[in-house]
Symmetry: D2
């Protein structure tokens, strides 16, 4: 039974027909206007019309970057799209000519589910996905089930507090994990390190070429052996590993999957993360260490996960 | 279908026949020797013989204070009983004359399950149990399922790290939640406060009557209006609430149940916990606050939960 | 022997003739342009001309909000005035017709010296001044001597780190004391508390009357008994007291003087500061607790202290 | 003018005649009983008699490991000797036949003064001594003056708080610097690292040879290139450097002198300390970085400093 997955970004949507093995059989794109939610409803309806003309589909899953309520129908809030208690499922259904099943999913949950079913986590039952990008998003699978929580707002992993009285977060709290374990944190620390240790920052400044240093410069410099860049990634990895050990105290996952742009650093990030995890894990000696792996599904994760979750 | 639940303590075991509504129909007790695991096998076998003579039972669940492996057969480690990779299920089965289903459960998980099915959490699907005693134990129920984790060692909630470089924990790590949110932490802080603020400690010293102040003195003094004792409980409640907010970032529970001896403090503990939770919760405004309630099953929780889990 | 003290603000200067008892015998004001350091040189020269016509003076001390070098001649950097390695003493002397002694002092050091000589600290030899305003400034007097440090940059008390990985400071570091113990911190926390605990924020919102809550609203509400405002000031006081205990581990002062606008809160601030200090002090029991007092010199402290230091 | 310096240890005292250049002209030793303060009085009197027979001396300085009051006469408390409000100066004077000047000094202050006058700090006016041993002791010299504080208890540097809610200290507080920057902290962390990372601990285990790993093993392994040992020293150095930056925010020293047994690690400790200091210093760019140097006076520091301070 095929399903359509739709991944809604800020100004465009990507969609595909996904089979039961997680394979995308056909794809399409559409344009949207983030300030006009109705434009998104129509774009979803359009990609449905286009793709369902090619394949018979039983369901459509829509991945949205925002808080989705527990019955998977309404976007409670989205940071980058003008959704506020927005009944996305009903609005999309009203535009569809078929009586197809429609579900809305948080985009990180959809991506995590894709990794769990078809990607880096397909051999485990208990998995933590960390999407290390601008912020720190994620998804949690426990006992083979996606954790949505009582109100659909679970797996906001970036807002677990790791430092009391720590960095102020955009969410209004202090010390949130994403203030220490995200691409933004990496860039902030890289820029501070350049000021504090100019004698060590030559390579980073060279790569930045007059602009602000970005995460990709750090990864590139580190791969070339630059000691400061290697340290910066190791520090990021340390926070990922230590925070994951706190998650493990609660959930005992078999696997931590690292997604997001910072994953490009590969072992320069995963090595320190594993080491810090081993250093901080409780019940050490009575269970194996969780694996740390890079995400495997790339940009298709949202489409594949949303489609697969729509079938359930 | 009835089941027997057995709660194994250090020097005695308590057992009961439990019906499908969580009611204990018959009870018995037995003595054990914690340094002799075989004595515990026999005691379990004995209570089974005694109780199964009175009621027809389909299963027996054994609640044990230790790490239990994922297939619920072996105690990997127990702090107070000489179990090390101990095949408790097989050893007990070898002593039973009937071919009854036997399962081993972590005691906090059993207690949490009892609260979830028949106690404080019977109206929710997503619940965190915190057992605030000598340490900080707990159980997690998500989507109606007990969270055991990949290797059976989930819900070691007391070892989530809440303070980097924080108090050294018996587990070998730093900053574990139970170093801040447990009866031991309360006593440690009460004893320090007496030294630091003798002018405010009159009531606590009076209750301690020449001995070390204990948690029960703090609760008693606080109920009588003693400001220092009220502050000490509020501080404990604050750590409970703040840590629970970190758990909520991951799991979005509808309910936090507080068990353990410190629960006797009631609202003097729950009030500050709720306030700190509200202060620290992420996604505030997009979901209700979780409820904070006291555990309702008392000392029967282990028996009832173990029996009920054995049926599943 | 009289001396002139000059207190240089952003757009104006205040000056006075000060006698050996710290009394201001005559005053004057002048206007300056912060982006034009030469305008400040001239303004200082003008007030000198005006005041020295009225009284015979032996020296002129200039208090400046910036880093002043160790020989008290050059402003290394000022946040609000365009001084960068600026030879303020030489430039002023070049404009004066008399061969009078000229010294430049950091403004917080000048104010602290005034408190030490003639104000809240006139009965002690070892004193910490904390100026709790937009930031956290201060001055240190040890053994009757002002502490300037090897390069003139001592007593940047607000940048002692109190939280590893803590709030990011404008100075580029993390966890600086002034991020927790300043009027800005009070306002930030008050604004967050209003969002997090709207049910408790009625009085603060009423006083703010549609604008952002400010520190003065918190003080005013607290004096009227508002519980949330009292808590906010107590939290500020707690950070002042705990940080002062760290200073005491190094310097063992007899007195902590609290200046700056937040001092208006009086005992609502000092009480919690004293309590936290007592709670955190080392060598407790082997020395008295330092006193906590409000600054006594008001806005004259800069003039009086600069004049007095110029005489030394 | 010569003076005698006496360094009182647990079970023995070392004394010498010291000239104005800090040179020891004659030495002697004596035995004491730490539980019997009178035995120490007599031992001091005896070494005075012996040494004053050889050289004319003007004063005797006694260095004691304990809190010494501000007028340098009484030991308020000592951790390892039975001094409690003990009038050491008067008791010693009562035993002397000459009317010589007697002063009592804290031993770390005496050692710091020796470094300042004749050792690693003889070219600066503002210096911090850190004695990194079992605990973290120290001395502070500001503007050429030893900082004793209002009640003689200054420079208890190890009890500056560096981590809120941090490790519990023997002093009753949490997060004291010496819990992170001392030989004891190094050993604690080394032992934990062996358990947590056995695959990296081969060299340390080899050196410990069946006993507990000690600080000297870490230093030795690190000097041989062992990566884990190098990391452990770097972590110790990091805490030294970060804490020193907090001290610098207050005192702006030109120099940090590292004494105590851990100094044997040399650059393996100083390098990371300098780096962390540079990373954490405030007013960076407006002053040079303080130097970090090893102590130069060795075990003579107490004798030389006590003698020299007795002359002042």
């Amino acid at each position: 039974m095929h399903a359509i997955g739709v991944d809604i970004g800020g100004t465009k949507i990507a969609a595909g027909v996904v089979d039961e093995n997680g394979k995308i059989l056909a794809r399409t794109l559409g344009a949207t206007e983030p300030s006009d939610p109705a434009s998104i409803d129509r774009a979803v309806s359009d990609v449905y019309a286009e793709l369902s003309a090619q394949f018979e589909v039983a369901a459509i899953g829509v991945a949205a970057a925002g808080f989705v309520n527990a019955d998977r129908s309404t976007v409670l809030f989205a940071p980058n799209i003008a959704w506020r208690d927005y009944p996305l499922r009903e609005n999309v259904r009203a535009l569809l000519t078929d009586d197809v099943r429609v579900v809305v999913e948080n985009d990180a949950n959809a991506a995590g589910w894709a990794e769990f079913r078809f990607g880096a986590g397909r051999d485990v039952d208990d998995m933590l996905l960390l999407t290390v990008g601008t912020g720190l998003g994620g998804a949690i699978v426990i006992g083979g089930n996606l954790v949505r929580g009582a109100w659909g707002v679970a797996a906001e992993v970036g807002h677990m507090r790791v430092v009391p009285h720590g960095h102020i977060c955009g969410c209004g709290n202090e010390g949130c994990w994403e203030q220490y374990a995200s691409g933004s944190a990496l860039e902030r620390d890289a820029r501070a390190a350049i000021i504090k240790h100019p004698e060590r920052a030559g390579r980073l400044l060279e790569l930045a070429d007059g602009d602000l240093v970005e995460g990709s410069h750090v990864t590139s410099a580190a791969k070339g052996g630059d000691p400061l860049a290697i340290e910066l990634l190791a520090e990021l990895g340390r926070w990922i590993g230590e925070g994951s050990a706190s998650v493990a105290a609660l959930l005992d996952p078999a696997l931590v999957v690292i997604g997001g742009g910072v994953g490009a650093a590969g072992e320069l990030l995963l090595g320190p993360a594993r080491y810090a995890y081993a250093h901080s894990l409780s019940a050490r000696g009575y269970r194996p260490f969780a694996q740390f792996r890079l995400a495997a599904m790339g940009n298709d994760a949202g489409i594949v996960g949303a489609a697969d979750l729509a079938r359930i």
